[in-house]
């Protein structure tokens, strides 16, 4: 993992709660495993642009609404 990847943050957990999705529900919507969603939320895994776009589409938002770089 590159040193600055830890600043790659996301709002997935909040968005899931707003839409009443479990990790499994969201995983099924975008065609990945629940563990992939979990590792993205916990900043262990950075999704590709394609997966980020699919997640954005699932919430009807833009990628920037979900993912952002933390100030440091």
């Amino acid at each position: 993992m590159q040193a600055d990847q830890k600043y790659f943050a996301n709002n997935l957990k909040v968005l899931r709660a707003q839409h009443n999705y479990t990790q499994a529900d969201l995983a099924e919507l975008v065609g990945v495993t629940r563990k992939t969603i979990n590792t993205i939320e916990n900043r262990i895994f950075i999704p590709s642009a394609f997966l980020a776009l699919k997640l954005a589409k699932a919430f009807e938002l833009t990628v920037e609404d979900i993912f952002y770089i933390e100030k440091h």
Binding site: G31, V32, K35, N38, N42, I44, P47, L51
Partner: protein, 151 residues
């Protein structure tokens, strides 16, 4: 937390892979052991032959498990989810680790031949088996790992 069908398949795959790696290692290392003792009058030959047979039976069972698993994946329409980005990353990490371990072992054997006299064919076979088993085990470990705080 109840696992959904894809989660269960992910865990099944990792468990089947661990079982297959164990079966393959038992079969092949026993076979290497049998080749080592075959020209001696060792009393272990019967035990080792039994382990070879056991290992080969377990390997056939592992192949059957893979076949049944593939049917379950097809039925659940889960092929894409099971081969998602995280799985690709885990596979790549497992192969890279396996490659470097293999690389290290080969470069240990080369200078060792200057000091010890051993059957290189058996060493190569052992390294070849490890080259298969180690990436499988690393991949399975990565598949089980990093699931803290799951919801």
């Amino acid at each position: 937390m109840e696992l959904n069908k894809v989660d269960k398949l992910v865990q099944s795959r990792a468990k089947i892979l661990i079982f297959a790696a164990f079966a393959f290692a038992l079969w092949q290392f026993s076979w290497i052991g049998a080749d080592i003792v075959k020209d001696t009058e060792s009393s272990f030959i019967h035990i080792i032959t039994g382990l070879v047979i056991l290992g080969s039976i377990l390997w056939v069972i592992a192949c059957y498990f893979f076949y049944v698993f593939s049917k379950k994946v097809k039925k659940a329409n889960a092929l894409q989810a099971l081969n998602d980005e995280l799985t690709h990353k885990n596979k790549l990490q497992a192969f890279m680790a396996g490659y470097f371990i293999l690389f290290g072992m080969i470069w240990l054997v080369i200078p060792a031949t200057d000091f010890w006299d051993f059957d290189l064919i058996l060493i190569i076979r052992a390294i070849a088996v490890l080259a298969i088993v180690i990436p499988i085990l690393i991949f399975s470990y990565l598949e089980f790992k990093n699931d803290q705080g799951a919801e």
